[in-house]
């Protein structure tokens, strides 16, 4: 650790990191555009300039050098003394902000970025109140640069974060800077749109309203949104994300900094992958089926109905004829509750892992140029395993003991009629019931299916319980590397539905409200190894 002094205050920080990052993380609000901790240093916006003490060329005495230094480009070393609170620095910041706004259209009322815009914030904090620009502004064009993204170059501050992202993180390099001087603008190459699996991040890192997400465009003012910490369920990477929602509706997903998993990034598949949660075809009511008669009991009756039906069944046949199929989309806590219930009513019940969806190959970024070997320094990976919690469920199955089956083994045995009662959990965003699985519906005397959408199994089930999307639940997922991470509930389930955790909590015999934290405490009493979760440290709001 090195000790440095910023504005007369001592600060301990890691040697070699940029002074700007050290200051930001310690709470200083230093204006900056081009610097992003995940990208190379450009030092071109000249907004984070500071004064630094250096030995006088003649006397060798330490004094403020008659020069300004970009804080982003100055590495921390022991004994360094810098200041941002001097008049020179403030004048430089003010004049720099004036330069930034010269050609800016000031169209905040119709700009999506308004409310989370660094031009707005910095102008307010570091700028001047009125413009001295009387001449016509340089108006650069608005461009459609790809399937998901718009580029309003008239709002651009030329920080080149987006250009560096496509080169250094995505490795695809679609974006570039064209023209010179104040006419310069970000652009794509002719016929090569911005279209890569990571492109959504350029919108996140754009400090102004220049790069815009078509999906979110004009949908909602950002100050009306509430952000909830969550984990992306799109693949087994388990990126930390923020769910931005308002009026019980999710509007967008944004990556959340997590040094152990995703750094500052997320992929487009995850980013735009929440649409299924808003599908009107979702199952929203519990359903009971006797022959052809279908009823919808109230949620209050459900725990007893389920419990009695299973108890009756075990009495009538045998406890080892019961099976629970867990889904890799369940939270660890929910799965634990279900296992607890099943093993309580039928101690010899078998447990099985539901199908693990796999698509294609893992994609590592930065991706290598065509024909070249893969890049040595992987910054982000999209996994082929398209579910969030296979590892968590597997760990649970391991510690639960008893008969544990793979999905194939379960299917085989179920087809032979080895099981008479089954609880099958779905919760897959995409159709998952294959032909062979569909045939199993008729093999059980008692079938409980918990799922998002109707399918051949729900049609055959005696009891259908609606599953909720992850934004409506809370709990934890264990990613492919074995890291358990909690996610919070962002919105309520659709009218009529109940959170899986809540009804499982009640079915398992607990009273009161379910919460991931509460179940983790209960789990700790049974199996300590499963309950440690990692939460990424929050970064200050001004250190974006």
């Amino acid at each position: 650790m090195a000790k440095i002094i910023i504005d007369n205050q001592e600060l301990e920080c890691r040697e070699g990191m940029p002074v700007l990052r050290a200051a930001l993380e310690a709470g200083w609000d230093i204006p900056h555009y081009c610097y992003h901790p995940g990208l190379s240093v450009a030092a071109s916006c000249r907004l984070c300039l500071m004064e630094m003490k250096m030995p006088h060329p003649k006397t060798r005495e330490m004094d403020w050098a008659p020069k300004l230094f970009p804080a982003c480009q100055t590495p921390v070393r022991d004994g360094l003394e810098v200041r941002f609170n001097s008049d020179v620095v403030k004048t430089a910041q003010e004049s720099c902000m004036e330069f930034f706004l010269l050609n800016h259209p000031l169209d905040c009322p119709v700009c999506d970025q308004a409310g989370e815009c660094c031009l707005q914030d910095y102008s307010y904090k570091f700028g001047r109140a009125e413009s001295r620009m009387v001449d016509p502004k340089v108006v650069n064009p608005k461009k459609d640069i790809g399937p998901h993204t718009l580029l309003y170059t008239d709002r651009c501050v030329t920080c080149t974060r987006c250009v560096r992202f496509t080169r250094e993180i995505a490795g695809t390099g679609e974006l570039c800077l064209v023209q010179r001087g104040s006419k310069n603008e970000i652009d794509v190459f002719p016929g090569r749109p911005l279209d890569n699996p990571m492109q959504g991040n350029v919108v996140d890192i754009c400090p102004v309203g220049c790069l815009l997400d078509k999906d979110f465009l004009f949908k909602r003012r950002v100050w009306e949104l509430t952000g909830t910490s969550s984990i992306c369920p799109g693949c087994a990477t388990g990126c930390s994300i923020r769910v931005d929602h308002a009026d019980n509706r999710v509007y967008r997903l944004k990556p959340r900094y997590n040094p152990k998993v995703n750094d500052w990034w997320m992929c487009d598949e995850g980013r735009f992958g929440f649409k299924y949660t808003q599908d009107n075809a979702r199952i929203i009511k519990p359903m009971l089926r006797r022959g052809r008669e279908e009823t919808s009991p109230s949620w209050r009756e459900i725990p007893d109905i389920v419990r009695f039906r299973f108890q009756d069944h075990v009495r009538a046949s045998s406890a080892d004829k019961v099976v629970a199929v867990l889904s890799p989309f369940m939270a660890t806590e929910e799965a634990w509750l279900l296992i607890r219930f099943i093993r309580e009513v039928a101690p010899e019940a078998a447990l099985a892992m539901g199908p693990v969806p796999v698509e294609g190959e893992p994609q590592a970024f930065p991706c290598a140029p065509p024909g070249a070997p893969s890049m040595p320094d992987v910054k982000f990976t999209i996994l082929e395993e398209k579910c969030p919690n296979r590892r968590g469920i597997e760990q649970l199955l391991e510690v639960s003991g008893g008969t544990v089956l793979t999905f194939e083994a379960f299917s085989e045995q179920a087809a032979k009629g080895d099981f008479t009662a089954a609880w099958i959990v779905g919760g897959y965003p995409k159709p998952w019931v294959e032909k062979d699985t569909a045939k199993l519906g008729s093999k059980f005397g008692l079938l409980v299916v918990q799922d998002l959408f109707e399918n051949k199994l729900t049609e055959a089930a005696a009891i259908v319980l609606p599953a909720c999307a992850w934004v409506e639940r809370d709990g934890s997922f264990v990613n492919a590397k074995g890291l358990a991470q909690p996610f919070e509930r962002a919105i309520s389930p659709p009218d009529g539905a109940m959170r899986d955790g809540q009804y499982l909590f009640e079915i398992a015999g607990f009273e009161g409200l379910y919460s991931g934290q509460r179940v983790r405490e209960l789990m700790a009493e049974a199996t300590a190894s499963l309950t440690e979760v990692y939460e990424a440290p929050p970064i200050p709001a001004h250190a974006h």
Binding site: A43, K67, Q73, C96
Partner: protein
């Protein structure tokens, strides 16, 4: 410039017959450090504009380096400068010889000559000379029969002012967008292709054969001690004999314009109104300041940035200073690379203000605004990545400060309501 004007001066035969490549032979027989020491002793200051001592620059190279690259800055793009052009056009072998000496002294394996895109004819002349030098064994695997190997390539730029800045040149040479790099690392540590790199101007290298041949003492004997050696001066504008002249650096601006063997005085009926003595970027002199010495130190006493390229352009009394202001501002407005905010926005703002003043719709406060913008672009070192931002502010600042009465009179004589009408039409 001894070979300029000699018949066939571009050919190897004529160059050799006039004592060519003797200095290179002498240098290659010496220890590389001895060559560096000789150049340090000669106090050869860079002729590209900044005047940094070439020997000291070479000394920044890491001692334990394995590869070194030499870049020859032939991107002469400062208006109205043409001394490098004269050297390449008429005496290409002198440049090649200088390049060999510098490359040997710095232990460079490759020399890249980065040539301004507009130099078509000069390119062909120099390329032909390089081919000749290869054939004669001055370049290639065994330079002058020794074990020293040197490859030499010409790279032609696309005509951007900023590529004359040494790190802009390096970026451009690497095939990237030509814009200056952030320093550190300095090119001597990590330059072209991330290798230790030396960048020297054409004229600087052209001095080397003479230093090697006649010794450092001969070189320092010419001109004042801080500005040693002969220097090429360009004179252009309404003078009788515009052109490139060689002299010691104790010459004044007035001599440069009026001496018979140089500018030869103003065209009949014209009077000097202003002179940009060191290329545009150094700033302007009034008619009362013509006794300024054209060396590396004196220009600072006249609130100029430095000697620059020592290319004087004369503005005569028939020229409206508003036109000069607009022309200067337009140059920087279109040539700023756009990387740093201050330069990108400042130059284009000054351009628009100057344009408006020139069109007869200036406001008194515009003059202060120009000064303040210039100050905000360069009030302190470090505001921008390269020095060209400072270079853009000096001419504007000196024009406004030194010709303020004329500008104010012009603004005062505008018809009433003109400003409002223009602003309304524009916005």
């Amino acid at each position: 410039m001894k070979n300029v004007g000699v018949d066939g001066s571009t050919t190897l035969k004529v160059y050799e017959s006039r004592g060519g490549y003797v200095a290179a032979r002498k240098a290659l027989a010496m220890d590389t450090n001895a060559v560096v020491e000789e150049v340090k002793k000669a106090n050869l200051r860079g002729r590209g504009g900044a005047g940094f001592p070439a020997g000291v620059k070479w000394g920044f190279l890491p001692k334990d380096r394995t590869t070194t690259l030499l870049c020859v800055n032939a991107d002469e793009s400062e208006p109205p400068t043409f001394c490098n052009r004269v050297l390449m056009e008429h005496d290409p072998h002198q440049l090649i010889e200088g390049t060999i000496i510098a490359a040997y002294a710095t232990r460079s394996q490759v020399a890249y000559i980065y040539m301004r895109g507009e130099f078509h004819e000069q390119f062909h002349v120099l390329q032909k000379a390089i081919d000749e030098a290869y054939e004669a064994g001055y370049l290639g695997k065994k330079v002058l029969g020794t074990d020293y190997a040197l490859e030499c390539y010409i790279h032609r730029g696309a005509g951007a002012y900023v590529c004359g800045e040494e790190t802009g040149l390096i970026e451009s040479l690497e095939g990237k967008r030509g814009q200056p790099r952030i320093k550190p690392p300095f090119p001597a540590i990590e330059g072209l292709f991330r290798r230790p790199t030396v960048v020297n101007n054409v004229e600087t290298l052209s001095c080397l054969p003479h230093i090697m041949e006649r010794g450092a003492d001969w070189f320092t004997g010419i001109g004042p001690p801080h500005s040693a050696g002969p220097k090429l001066f360009c004179v252009s504008g309404p003078v009788n004999k515009p052109g490139c002249y060689e002299a010691a650096m104790d010459i004044t601006v007035r001599e440069l314009i009026e001496r018979d063997d140089m500018g030869g005085g103003m065209l009949s009926g014209r009077k000097v109104k202003a002179v940009f003595p060191g290329g545009l970027s150094m700033g302007v002199l009034t008619v009362d300041e013509l006794d300024m010495k054209m060396d590396f130190e004196d220009p600072r006493n006249y609130s100029l940035l430095g000697l620059g390229t020592a290319a004087a352009v004369v503005v005569d009394d028939a020229t409206d200073i508003r036109l000069v202001l607009r022309n200067v501002a337009r140059f920087y407005g279109t040539e700023s690379c756009g990387q740093c905010t201050q330069c990108r926005e400042g130059t284009s703002w000054m351009q628009r203000i100057a344009q408006r003043i020139e069109s007869g719709a200036g406001r008194m406060e515009d003059l202060d605004l120009l000064l303040e913008t210039a100050r905000n672009m360069g009030m302190m070192p470090g505001l921008s990545i390269c020095g060209l931002s400072d270079g853009a502010t000096y001419p504007i600042e000196t024009i406004v400060k030194k010709f303020r009465p004329e500008l104010e009179a012009a603004i005062r004589s505008q018809p009433a309501g003109q400003v409002e009408a223009v602003l309304q039409a524009a916005n």
